[in-house]
Amino acid sequence: MAYKIKETTCTGCSACQNECPNNAIVEKNFLFSIDPTKCTECVGFFDEPQCVAICPIPRTINPNPDVPRFQAAV
Protein backbone atom coordinates (compact mmCIF):
# COMPACT_ATOMS: atom_id res chain seq x y z
CA MET A 1 0.00 0.00 0.00
CA ALA A 2 1.22 3.37 -0.89
CA TYR A 3 -0.70 6.62 -0.80
CA LYS A 4 -2.39 8.26 -3.72
CA ILE A 5 -3.45 11.86 -4.45
CA LYS A 6 -6.94 12.57 -5.69
CA GLU A 7 -6.37 15.01 -8.53
CA THR A 8 -9.85 16.45 -8.48
CA THR A 9 -9.51 17.92 -5.01
CA CYS A 10 -5.75 18.58 -4.81
CA THR A 11 -5.03 22.34 -4.89
CA GLY A 12 -1.43 21.88 -5.92
CA CYS A 13 -0.13 23.60 -2.82
CA SER A 14 2.98 21.38 -2.67
CA ALA A 15 2.86 21.03 1.11
CA CYS A 16 2.96 17.23 0.90
CA GLN A 17 5.96 17.33 -1.39
CA ASN A 18 7.99 19.38 1.09
CA GLU A 19 7.37 16.82 3.83
CA CYS A 20 7.87 13.48 2.09
CA PRO A 21 10.96 11.73 3.49
CA ASN A 22 11.29 9.59 0.34
CA ASN A 23 10.90 12.22 -2.36
CA ALA A 24 8.02 10.12 -3.58
CA ILE A 25 5.82 13.06 -4.55
CA VAL A 26 6.35 14.46 -8.01
CA GLU A 27 4.88 17.45 -9.76
CA LYS A 28 4.14 17.80 -13.43
CA ASN A 29 2.41 20.98 -14.62
CA PHE A 30 1.07 21.68 -11.12
CA LEU A 31 -0.35 18.16 -10.87
CA PHE A 32 0.99 16.24 -7.92
CA SER A 33 1.21 12.48 -7.72
CA ILE A 34 2.85 9.85 -5.54
CA ASP A 35 5.30 7.36 -7.00
CA PRO A 36 4.05 4.05 -5.52
CA THR A 37 7.50 2.50 -5.84
CA LYS A 38 9.01 5.16 -3.58
CA CYS A 39 6.27 5.71 -1.01
CA THR A 40 6.89 3.76 2.20
CA GLU A 41 3.82 5.15 3.99
CA CYS A 42 6.47 6.92 6.01
CA VAL A 43 7.31 3.64 7.75
CA GLY A 44 10.74 3.89 9.27
CA PHE A 45 10.55 7.68 9.41
CA PHE A 46 7.45 8.95 11.15
CA ASP A 47 4.40 7.73 13.02
CA GLU A 48 1.94 9.23 10.59
CA PRO A 49 2.09 9.61 6.84
CA GLN A 50 3.42 13.15 6.48
CA CYS A 51 1.56 13.97 3.29
CA VAL A 52 -1.79 13.05 4.84
CA ALA A 53 -1.02 14.99 8.01
CA ILE A 54 -0.25 18.26 6.23
CA CYS A 55 -2.67 18.13 3.30
CA PRO A 56 -5.21 20.93 3.83
CA ILE A 57 -7.99 19.30 1.86
CA PRO A 58 -9.74 16.41 3.64
CA ARG A 59 -9.76 13.02 1.90
CA THR A 60 -7.38 14.12 -0.84
CA ILE A 61 -4.56 11.74 0.00
CA ASN A 62 -5.81 8.18 0.45
CA PRO A 63 -4.40 4.66 0.53
CA ASN A 64 -3.67 3.35 -2.94
CA PRO A 65 -5.62 0.05 -3.15
CA ASP A 66 -3.61 -1.17 -6.12
CA VAL A 67 -0.37 -1.40 -4.22
CA PRO A 68 0.35 -3.94 -1.46
CA ARG A 69 1.20 -2.69 1.99
CA PHE A 70 4.77 -1.57 2.37
CA GLN A 71 7.08 -4.02 4.13
CA ALA A 72 10.04 -2.57 5.89
CA ALA A 73 13.19 -4.36 4.73
CA VAL A 74 14.49 -6.84 7.31
Partner: protein, 513 residues
Protein backbone atom coordinates in the same frame (compact mmCIF):
# COMPACT_ATOMS: atom_id res chain seq x y z
CA UNK B 1 22.56 61.32 -0.02
CA UNK B 2 23.46 64.08 2.40
CA UNK B 3 20.53 66.35 1.68
CA UNK B 4 18.30 63.34 2.01
CA UNK B 5 19.55 62.74 5.48
CA UNK B 6 18.92 66.32 6.52
CA UNK B 7 15.35 66.04 5.38
CA UNK B 8 14.95 62.88 7.27
CA UNK B 9 16.10 64.44 10.49
CA UNK B 10 13.56 67.20 10.26
CA UNK B 11 10.86 64.78 9.31
CA UNK B 12 11.53 62.70 12.37
CA UNK B 13 9.96 65.36 14.45
CA UNK B 14 6.94 66.11 12.38
CA UNK B 15 5.79 63.10 10.45
CA UNK B 16 3.28 60.62 11.63
CA UNK B 17 3.58 57.03 10.57
CA UNK B 18 1.03 54.37 10.08
CA UNK B 19 -2.08 56.39 10.58
CA UNK B 20 -1.58 56.89 14.24
CA UNK B 21 -1.25 60.26 15.77
CA UNK B 22 -1.38 62.17 18.95
CA UNK B 23 -4.51 60.57 20.24
CA UNK B 24 -6.69 62.71 22.36
CA UNK B 25 -5.01 62.31 25.72
CA UNK B 26 -1.68 63.88 26.51
CA UNK B 27 -0.13 61.55 28.98
CA UNK B 28 -1.09 58.30 27.37
CA UNK B 29 1.71 57.91 24.91
CA UNK B 30 4.65 59.84 26.19
CA UNK B 31 7.11 57.31 24.81
CA UNK B 32 10.59 58.71 25.01
CA UNK B 33 9.21 62.14 25.72
CA UNK B 34 9.27 63.23 22.13
CA UNK B 35 5.57 63.61 21.56
CA UNK B 36 4.05 66.65 23.07
CA UNK B 37 0.42 67.48 23.15
CA UNK B 38 -1.07 66.85 19.78
CA UNK B 39 0.91 69.10 17.59
CA UNK B 40 4.20 67.29 17.32
CA UNK B 41 3.07 63.73 17.70
CA UNK B 42 5.49 62.90 14.96
CA UNK B 43 6.41 59.31 14.73
CA UNK B 44 4.50 58.54 17.90
CA UNK B 45 6.15 55.85 19.94
CA UNK B 46 8.55 54.88 17.22
CA UNK B 47 12.21 55.44 17.84
CA UNK B 48 14.11 57.37 15.15
CA UNK B 49 15.81 54.20 13.93
CA UNK B 50 12.51 52.43 13.56
CA UNK B 51 10.91 55.38 11.84
CA UNK B 52 13.82 55.62 9.44
CA UNK B 53 13.23 52.01 8.47
CA UNK B 54 9.49 52.28 7.98
CA UNK B 55 8.73 55.75 6.68
CA UNK B 56 8.84 54.76 3.02
CA UNK B 57 7.12 51.49 3.60
CA UNK B 58 3.63 51.47 2.14
CA UNK B 59 2.46 49.05 4.75
CA UNK B 60 3.48 51.21 7.69
CA UNK B 61 2.50 54.69 6.74
CA UNK B 62 -0.83 55.69 5.32
CA UNK B 63 0.68 58.47 3.38
CA UNK B 64 3.63 56.46 2.13
CA UNK B 65 0.95 54.17 0.79
CA UNK B 66 0.15 56.78 -1.84
CA UNK B 67 3.75 57.39 -2.89
CA UNK B 68 5.34 54.00 -2.57
CA UNK B 69 4.39 50.57 -3.63
CA UNK B 70 5.13 47.11 -2.50
CA UNK B 71 4.79 43.89 -4.35
CA UNK B 72 4.42 40.35 -3.19
CA UNK B 73 6.06 37.37 -4.79
CA UNK B 74 3.86 34.29 -4.68
CA UNK B 75 6.59 31.71 -4.19
CA UNK B 76 5.30 29.97 -1.08
CA UNK B 77 2.21 27.83 -1.76
CA UNK B 78 2.39 25.36 1.12
CA UNK B 79 1.01 26.00 4.60
CA UNK B 80 1.31 24.22 7.92
CA UNK B 81 -1.67 25.68 9.75
CA UNK B 82 -5.38 25.56 9.03
CA UNK B 83 -7.31 28.76 9.80
CA UNK B 84 -11.07 28.95 9.89
CA UNK B 85 -11.02 32.20 7.92
CA UNK B 86 -9.04 30.66 5.12
CA UNK B 87 -10.15 28.57 2.19
CA UNK B 88 -7.11 26.67 1.11
CA UNK B 89 -8.22 26.53 -2.46
CA UNK B 90 -7.19 30.16 -2.60
CA UNK B 91 -4.43 32.37 -1.27
CA UNK B 92 -3.87 32.87 2.42
CA UNK B 93 -6.37 35.42 3.65
CA UNK B 94 -4.05 36.84 6.28
CA UNK B 95 -2.48 39.20 3.80
CA UNK B 96 -4.77 39.10 0.84
CA UNK B 97 -8.33 39.10 -0.24
CA UNK B 98 -10.12 35.83 0.29
CA UNK B 99 -11.02 33.94 -2.81
CA UNK B 100 -8.12 35.01 -5.01
CA UNK B 101 -5.62 32.68 -6.58
CA UNK B 102 -2.36 34.27 -7.53
CA UNK B 103 0.07 32.93 -10.04
CA UNK B 104 2.77 30.74 -8.58
CA UNK B 105 6.34 31.68 -9.22
CA UNK B 106 9.63 29.91 -8.92
CA UNK B 107 12.30 31.90 -7.05
CA UNK B 108 14.13 32.74 -10.29
CA UNK B 109 10.93 33.95 -11.94
CA UNK B 110 10.04 35.99 -8.91
CA UNK B 111 13.43 37.68 -8.82
CA UNK B 112 13.18 38.59 -12.47
CA UNK B 113 9.73 40.00 -11.88
CA UNK B 114 10.93 42.15 -9.00
CA UNK B 115 13.75 43.47 -11.14
CA UNK B 116 11.36 44.25 -13.99
CA UNK B 117 8.86 46.03 -11.77
CA UNK B 118 11.50 48.00 -9.88
CA UNK B 119 13.01 49.21 -13.14
CA UNK B 120 9.66 50.35 -14.49
CA UNK B 121 8.06 51.73 -11.33
CA UNK B 122 10.43 53.83 -9.18
CA UNK B 123 7.85 53.80 -6.37
CA UNK B 124 8.35 50.11 -5.80
CA UNK B 125 10.42 49.92 -2.64
CA UNK B 126 9.30 46.79 -0.86
CA UNK B 127 9.19 43.13 -1.71
CA UNK B 128 7.09 40.99 0.55
CA UNK B 129 6.72 37.26 0.64
CA UNK B 130 3.47 36.36 2.29
CA UNK B 131 2.12 33.34 0.53
CA UNK B 132 -0.02 32.13 -1.02
CA UNK B 133 0.58 29.75 1.91
CA UNK B 134 3.08 30.39 4.68
CA UNK B 135 6.56 31.51 3.61
CA UNK B 136 8.23 29.58 6.40
CA UNK B 137 6.45 26.40 5.42
CA UNK B 138 8.38 26.85 2.16
CA UNK B 139 11.70 28.04 3.55
CA UNK B 140 13.87 27.06 0.60
CA UNK B 141 11.77 28.86 -2.00
CA UNK B 142 11.30 31.88 0.23
CA UNK B 143 14.92 32.42 1.19
CA UNK B 144 16.20 31.64 -2.29
CA UNK B 145 13.96 34.41 -3.63
CA UNK B 146 15.21 36.87 -1.04
CA UNK B 147 18.83 35.98 -1.81
CA UNK B 148 18.36 36.54 -5.52
CA UNK B 149 16.56 39.83 -5.03
CA UNK B 150 19.12 41.12 -2.54
CA UNK B 151 21.76 40.47 -5.19
CA UNK B 152 20.06 42.06 -8.14
CA UNK B 153 17.95 44.82 -6.60
CA UNK B 154 19.87 45.90 -3.52
CA UNK B 155 17.80 48.99 -2.67
CA UNK B 156 14.58 47.02 -2.19
CA UNK B 157 13.48 46.34 1.34
CA UNK B 158 12.57 42.77 2.10
CA UNK B 159 9.73 41.73 4.29
CA UNK B 160 8.07 38.54 5.30
CA UNK B 161 4.66 37.63 6.70
CA UNK B 162 4.14 34.43 8.58
CA UNK B 163 1.77 32.59 10.85
CA UNK B 164 4.79 32.20 13.16
CA UNK B 165 4.70 28.45 13.63
CA UNK B 166 8.17 27.88 12.17
CA UNK B 167 9.55 31.32 12.96
CA UNK B 168 11.96 30.38 15.79
CA UNK B 169 13.77 27.96 13.47
CA UNK B 170 14.48 30.63 10.87
CA UNK B 171 15.37 33.71 12.87
CA UNK B 172 19.09 33.43 12.11
CA UNK B 173 18.51 33.19 8.42
CA UNK B 174 16.11 36.13 8.50
CA UNK B 175 18.76 38.19 10.27
CA UNK B 176 21.53 37.08 7.90
CA UNK B 177 19.49 38.12 4.87
CA UNK B 178 18.87 41.58 6.25
CA UNK B 179 15.12 41.17 6.18
CA UNK B 180 14.10 44.16 8.20
CA UNK B 181 10.37 43.68 8.65
CA UNK B 182 8.51 40.60 9.70
CA UNK B 183 4.76 40.44 10.14
CA UNK B 184 3.33 37.75 12.37
CA UNK B 185 -0.37 37.05 12.35
CA UNK B 186 -1.35 36.52 15.98
CA UNK B 187 -5.05 36.10 16.61
CA UNK B 188 -4.88 34.82 20.18
CA UNK B 189 -2.61 34.11 23.13
CA UNK B 190 -5.12 31.83 24.84
CA UNK B 191 -5.25 28.33 23.30
CA UNK B 192 -8.92 28.03 24.25
CA UNK B 193 -9.67 30.99 22.03
CA UNK B 194 -7.31 29.59 19.42
CA UNK B 195 -9.19 26.31 19.26
CA UNK B 196 -12.11 28.22 17.74
CA UNK B 197 -9.85 29.72 15.07
CA UNK B 198 -7.38 26.96 14.20
CA UNK B 199 -8.63 23.39 13.70
CA UNK B 200 -5.07 22.04 13.38
CA UNK B 201 -1.38 22.74 12.94
CA UNK B 202 1.31 20.53 11.44
CA UNK B 203 4.35 20.64 13.66
CA UNK B 204 7.28 18.34 14.23
CA UNK B 205 5.98 15.77 11.75
CA UNK B 206 2.62 15.52 13.43
CA UNK B 207 -0.83 16.99 13.03
CA UNK B 208 -2.05 18.52 16.27
CA UNK B 209 -5.67 19.47 16.82
CA UNK B 210 -7.81 21.27 19.38
CA UNK B 211 -6.39 23.31 22.23
CA UNK B 212 -3.01 21.65 21.92
CA UNK B 213 -2.61 22.92 18.36
CA UNK B 214 -3.18 26.50 19.48
CA UNK B 215 -0.94 26.11 22.50
CA UNK B 216 1.95 25.11 20.23
CA UNK B 217 1.16 27.84 17.75
CA UNK B 218 0.94 30.54 20.38
CA UNK B 219 4.18 29.51 22.10
CA UNK B 220 6.04 29.46 18.81
CA UNK B 221 4.61 32.82 17.73
CA UNK B 222 5.57 34.61 20.91
CA UNK B 223 8.99 32.96 21.03
CA UNK B 224 9.64 33.94 17.42
CA UNK B 225 8.57 37.50 18.15
CA UNK B 226 10.93 37.73 21.12
CA UNK B 227 13.83 36.29 19.15
CA UNK B 228 13.34 38.72 16.29
CA UNK B 229 13.02 41.84 18.39
CA UNK B 230 16.08 40.75 20.40
CA UNK B 231 18.00 40.90 17.12
CA UNK B 232 16.60 44.31 16.25
CA UNK B 233 14.38 43.09 13.43
CA UNK B 234 11.14 45.05 13.18
CA UNK B 235 8.03 43.07 13.95
CA UNK B 236 4.51 44.03 13.15
CA UNK B 237 1.63 41.95 14.43
CA UNK B 238 -1.53 41.43 12.41
CA UNK B 239 -4.70 40.27 14.12
CA UNK B 240 -7.96 39.40 12.51
CA UNK B 241 -10.89 40.66 14.58
CA UNK B 242 -13.54 37.95 14.79
CA UNK B 243 -16.60 39.19 16.69
CA UNK B 244 -17.66 36.87 19.48
CA UNK B 245 -14.44 34.85 19.26
CA UNK B 246 -11.39 37.02 19.81
CA UNK B 247 -12.62 40.63 19.80
CA UNK B 248 -12.32 41.25 23.54
CA UNK B 249 -9.27 39.00 23.74
CA UNK B 250 -7.30 41.14 21.27
CA UNK B 251 -6.72 43.73 24.00
CA UNK B 252 -4.71 41.07 25.85
CA UNK B 253 -2.97 40.09 22.62
CA UNK B 254 -2.05 43.73 22.15
CA UNK B 255 -0.40 43.88 25.58
CA UNK B 256 1.42 40.59 25.03
CA UNK B 257 2.91 41.58 21.70
CA UNK B 258 3.80 45.07 22.80
CA UNK B 259 5.66 43.74 25.83
CA UNK B 260 7.64 41.48 23.50
CA UNK B 261 8.73 44.37 21.35
CA UNK B 262 6.33 44.43 18.38
CA UNK B 263 6.44 47.98 17.03
CA UNK B 264 3.04 48.06 15.39
CA UNK B 265 -0.24 46.24 15.76
CA UNK B 266 -2.67 45.98 12.90
CA UNK B 267 -6.16 44.85 13.82
CA UNK B 268 -8.00 43.92 10.67
CA UNK B 269 -11.68 43.13 10.28
CA UNK B 270 -12.60 39.56 9.44
CA UNK B 271 -13.77 39.47 5.86
CA UNK B 272 -16.24 36.69 5.65
CA UNK B 273 -18.96 35.64 3.25
CA UNK B 274 -20.40 32.24 2.36
CA UNK B 275 -19.04 32.46 -1.19
CA UNK B 276 -15.48 32.48 0.14
CA UNK B 277 -16.04 28.90 1.19
CA UNK B 278 -14.23 29.36 4.50
CA UNK B 279 -15.36 27.69 7.70
CA UNK B 280 -16.38 31.06 9.11
CA UNK B 281 -18.02 32.14 5.87
CA UNK B 282 -20.05 28.95 5.61
CA UNK B 283 -21.08 29.13 9.25
CA UNK B 284 -22.38 32.66 9.18
CA UNK B 285 -19.59 34.16 11.29
CA UNK B 286 -19.84 37.91 10.65
CA UNK B 287 -17.10 40.51 10.48
CA UNK B 288 -17.09 43.59 12.76
CA UNK B 289 -18.80 46.90 12.01
CA UNK B 290 -16.76 50.06 11.57
CA UNK B 291 -17.58 51.22 15.06
CA UNK B 292 -16.67 47.91 16.67
CA UNK B 293 -13.34 47.93 14.88
CA UNK B 294 -12.56 51.52 15.79
CA UNK B 295 -13.52 51.00 19.44
CA UNK B 296 -11.15 48.06 19.70
CA UNK B 297 -8.35 49.95 17.95
CA UNK B 298 -8.93 52.91 20.25
CA UNK B 299 -8.79 50.77 23.35
CA UNK B 300 -5.44 49.36 22.23
CA UNK B 301 -3.95 52.64 21.13
CA UNK B 302 -2.82 53.77 24.54
CA UNK B 303 -0.73 50.62 24.59
CA UNK B 304 1.11 50.93 21.30
CA UNK B 305 1.06 52.12 17.73
CA UNK B 306 -2.00 50.93 15.93
CA UNK B 307 -2.08 50.58 12.23
CA UNK B 308 -5.26 51.97 10.80
CA UNK B 309 -4.78 52.14 7.10
CA UNK B 310 -4.40 48.52 6.10
CA UNK B 311 -6.73 47.84 3.23
CA UNK B 312 -5.96 44.15 3.06
CA UNK B 313 -4.66 44.71 -0.44
CA UNK B 314 -4.62 41.89 -2.86
CA UNK B 315 -1.29 40.18 -2.40
CA UNK B 316 -0.40 39.95 -6.06
CA UNK B 317 -1.23 43.54 -6.95
CA UNK B 318 1.55 45.67 -8.38
CA UNK B 319 1.75 49.44 -8.31
CA UNK B 320 0.45 52.32 -6.30
CA UNK B 321 -2.76 52.24 -4.39
CA UNK B 322 -5.73 52.08 -6.70
CA UNK B 323 -3.75 51.54 -9.90
CA UNK B 324 -3.00 47.91 -10.30
CA UNK B 325 -0.42 47.28 -12.99
CA UNK B 326 -0.04 43.56 -12.50
CA UNK B 327 -1.31 42.90 -16.03
CA UNK B 328 1.94 44.44 -17.35
CA UNK B 329 3.97 41.99 -15.34
CA UNK B 330 2.61 38.55 -16.02
CA UNK B 331 5.19 35.77 -15.84
CA UNK B 332 5.22 35.47 -19.61
CA UNK B 333 5.84 39.17 -20.22
CA UNK B 334 8.43 39.43 -17.47
CA UNK B 335 10.46 36.53 -18.78
CA UNK B 336 10.59 38.18 -22.18
CA UNK B 337 11.62 41.61 -20.84
CA UNK B 338 15.02 43.22 -21.18
CA UNK B 339 15.55 45.23 -18.02
CA UNK B 340 18.08 47.83 -17.07
CA UNK B 341 18.13 48.83 -13.48
CA UNK B 342 18.31 52.57 -12.89
CA UNK B 343 19.13 53.29 -9.28
CA UNK B 344 19.60 57.05 -9.83
CA UNK B 345 16.11 57.69 -11.16
CA UNK B 346 14.67 55.70 -8.28
CA UNK B 347 16.47 57.90 -5.81
CA UNK B 348 15.44 61.08 -7.60
CA UNK B 349 11.79 60.04 -7.34
CA UNK B 350 12.12 59.29 -3.66
CA UNK B 351 13.61 62.69 -2.93
CA UNK B 352 10.71 64.44 -4.63
CA UNK B 353 8.30 62.54 -2.45
CA UNK B 354 10.07 63.74 0.69
CA UNK B 355 9.52 67.36 -0.31
CA UNK B 356 5.81 66.80 -0.90
CA UNK B 357 5.40 65.08 2.41
CA UNK B 358 6.97 67.91 4.31
CA UNK B 359 4.58 70.41 2.76
CA UNK B 360 1.59 68.39 4.00
CA UNK B 361 2.95 68.24 7.51
CA UNK B 362 3.85 71.91 7.64
CA UNK B 363 0.33 72.91 6.55
CA UNK B 364 -1.23 70.77 9.23
CA UNK B 365 0.99 72.06 11.97
CA UNK B 366 0.34 75.70 11.02
CA UNK B 367 -3.41 75.15 11.21
CA UNK B 368 -3.12 73.22 14.44
CA UNK B 369 -1.33 76.15 16.05
CA UNK B 370 -4.48 78.26 15.57
CA UNK B 371 -6.42 75.74 17.64
CA UNK B 372 -4.15 76.15 20.62
CA UNK B 373 -6.05 77.20 23.71
CA UNK B 374 -9.38 75.74 22.54
CA UNK B 375 -10.75 73.06 24.85
CA UNK B 376 -13.77 70.95 24.08
CA UNK B 377 -14.90 67.37 24.59
CA UNK B 378 -16.34 67.22 21.14
CA UNK B 379 -14.68 65.04 18.57
CA UNK B 380 -15.99 64.44 15.07
CA UNK B 381 -15.28 62.16 12.16
CA UNK B 382 -14.79 63.48 8.66
CA UNK B 383 -14.80 61.37 5.49
CA UNK B 384 -12.46 62.58 2.76
CA UNK B 385 -12.46 61.87 -0.97
CA UNK B 386 -8.83 61.86 -2.04
CA UNK B 387 -6.56 60.50 -4.70
CA UNK B 388 -3.60 60.88 -2.39
CA UNK B 389 -0.93 63.51 -1.85
CA UNK B 390 -2.64 64.53 1.38
CA UNK B 391 -5.18 66.66 -0.50
CA UNK B 392 -8.94 66.72 -1.02
CA UNK B 393 -8.75 66.05 -4.71
CA UNK B 394 -11.39 63.52 -5.60
CA UNK B 395 -14.90 63.99 -6.96
CA UNK B 396 -17.51 62.50 -4.63
CA UNK B 397 -18.87 60.27 -7.36
CA UNK B 398 -15.45 58.92 -8.32
CA UNK B 399 -14.28 58.02 -4.85
CA UNK B 400 -13.62 54.33 -4.41
CA UNK B 401 -12.83 54.78 -0.77
CA UNK B 402 -13.02 57.51 1.83
CA UNK B 403 -10.32 58.27 4.33
CA UNK B 404 -11.70 58.88 7.80
CA UNK B 405 -10.17 61.53 10.06
CA UNK B 406 -11.01 62.12 13.67
CA UNK B 407 -10.70 65.73 14.81
CA UNK B 408 -10.77 67.16 18.31
CA UNK B 409 -9.02 70.02 20.07
CA UNK B 410 -6.07 67.64 20.43
CA UNK B 411 -5.65 67.64 16.66
CA UNK B 412 -6.54 65.51 13.71
CA UNK B 413 -5.73 61.91 13.13
CA UNK B 414 -6.29 59.39 10.43
CA UNK B 415 -8.43 56.55 11.77
CA UNK B 416 -9.20 54.36 8.79
CA UNK B 417 -10.66 53.80 5.38
CA UNK B 418 -14.09 53.00 4.14
CA UNK B 419 -14.48 51.34 0.83
CA UNK B 420 -17.39 52.20 -1.41
CA UNK B 421 -18.22 51.14 -4.88
CA UNK B 422 -17.84 53.79 -7.49
CA UNK B 423 -20.86 55.94 -6.95
CA UNK B 424 -20.78 57.05 -10.56
CA UNK B 425 -20.14 53.66 -12.06
CA UNK B 426 -21.79 53.34 -15.41
CA UNK B 427 -22.30 57.10 -15.75
CA UNK B 428 -25.45 57.71 -13.80
CA UNK B 429 -25.78 57.74 -10.11
CA UNK B 430 -28.30 55.35 -8.70
CA UNK B 431 -30.12 55.84 -5.48
CA UNK B 432 -28.91 52.63 -3.89
CA UNK B 433 -25.26 53.42 -4.50
CA UNK B 434 -25.66 56.66 -2.56
CA UNK B 435 -27.12 54.54 0.18
CA UNK B 436 -24.01 52.37 0.07
CA UNK B 437 -21.83 55.43 0.59
CA UNK B 438 -24.03 56.70 3.40
CA UNK B 439 -23.82 53.35 5.15
CA UNK B 440 -20.04 53.32 4.81
CA UNK B 441 -19.55 56.80 6.28
CA UNK B 442 -22.64 56.97 8.47
CA UNK B 443 -20.55 57.74 11.56
CA UNK B 444 -19.12 60.93 10.00
CA UNK B 445 -20.36 64.48 10.50
CA UNK B 446 -19.07 65.72 7.17
CA UNK B 447 -17.60 64.54 3.90
CA UNK B 448 -14.89 66.57 2.14
CA UNK B 449 -14.88 66.39 -1.62
CA UNK B 450 -13.33 68.20 -4.57
CA UNK B 451 -16.73 68.33 -6.27
CA UNK B 452 -20.17 66.89 -5.79
CA UNK B 453 -23.37 66.81 -7.81
CA UNK B 454 -26.69 68.25 -6.69
CA UNK B 455 -28.47 64.98 -6.08
CA UNK B 456 -25.97 63.29 -3.82
CA UNK B 457 -25.52 66.60 -2.00
CA UNK B 458 -29.18 66.58 -1.00
CA UNK B 459 -29.09 62.88 -0.21
CA UNK B 460 -26.13 63.29 2.13
CA UNK B 461 -27.74 66.24 3.88
CA UNK B 462 -30.93 64.35 4.58
CA UNK B 463 -28.80 61.55 6.02
CA UNK B 464 -27.28 64.12 8.35
CA UNK B 465 -23.83 64.22 6.73
CA UNK B 466 -22.66 67.63 5.60
CA UNK B 467 -21.11 67.66 2.12
CA UNK B 468 -18.21 70.15 2.01
CA UNK B 469 -16.54 71.20 -1.23
CA UNK B 470 -15.10 74.55 -0.25
CA UNK B 471 -11.75 72.96 0.67
CA UNK B 472 -11.36 71.47 -2.80
CA UNK B 473 -7.70 70.69 -3.58
CA UNK B 474 -6.56 71.88 -0.16
CA UNK B 475 -4.60 69.75 2.32
CA UNK B 476 -6.79 67.30 4.20
CA UNK B 477 -5.68 67.76 7.79
CA UNK B 478 -5.33 71.52 7.54
CA UNK B 479 -8.90 71.69 6.21
CA UNK B 480 -10.20 69.23 8.79
CA UNK B 481 -8.90 71.38 11.61
CA UNK B 482 -10.28 74.55 10.00
CA UNK B 483 -13.68 72.88 9.61
CA UNK B 484 -13.59 71.67 13.18
CA UNK B 485 -12.96 75.20 14.47
CA UNK B 486 -16.03 76.43 12.61
CA UNK B 487 -17.97 73.45 13.86
CA UNK B 488 -17.18 74.33 17.45
CA UNK B 489 -18.17 77.93 16.80
CA UNK B 490 -21.48 76.84 15.26
CA UNK B 491 -22.19 74.63 18.26
CA UNK B 492 -21.40 77.49 20.58
CA UNK B 493 -23.78 79.91 18.83
CA UNK B 494 -26.48 77.25 18.82
CA UNK B 495 -26.60 77.10 15.03
CA UNK B 496 -25.73 73.43 15.28
CA UNK B 497 -26.49 70.66 17.75
CA UNK B 498 -23.60 68.26 18.22
CA UNK B 499 -24.95 64.73 18.01
CA UNK B 500 -23.15 61.43 18.09
CA UNK B 501 -23.67 59.63 14.83
CA UNK B 502 -24.48 55.99 14.21
CA UNK B 503 -22.42 53.01 13.15
CA UNK B 504 -21.10 52.27 9.69
CA UNK B 505 -20.46 49.27 7.45
CA UNK B 506 -17.13 47.76 6.54
CA UNK B 507 -17.27 46.71 2.94
CA UNK B 508 -15.77 43.51 1.70
CA UNK B 509 -12.82 43.29 -0.58
CA UNK B 510 -9.53 44.97 -1.26
CA UNK B 511 -9.04 48.40 -2.73
CA UNK B 512 -6.49 47.50 -5.36
CA UNK B 513 -8.90 45.85 -7.70
Amino acid sequence: MDSGNLKVVSLLRVMRPAGQGSGSGCGSKGGDGKSGCGSSAGQGDLSPTVWEKVKNHPCYSEEAHHHYARMHAAVAPACNVQCNFCNRKYDCSNESRPGVVSERLLPEQAAKKVLAVASTIPQMTVLGIAGPGDPLANPEKTFRTFELVANFVPDIKLCLSTNGLMLPDHVDRIAALNIDHVTITINMIDPNVGAKIYPWVFYNHKRYTGVEASRILSERQLLGLEMLTARGILCKVNSVMIPGINDQHLVAVNKAVKSRGAFLHNIMPLISAPEHGTFFGLNGQRGPTAQELKLLQDSCEGEMNMMRHCRQCRADAVGLLGEDRSAEFTTEKVMAMEVTYDLASRQAYQEKVEVKRQAVVAARNAELATLAGERSDISILIAVATKGGGRINEHFGHAREFQIYEVSTAGSKFVGHRRVDNYCQGGYAEEDSLETVVRAINDCQAVFVARIGGCPREGLKSAGIEPVDRFALEYIEQSAIAYFKEYLARVRTGELMHKLRGDADIRQGALIA
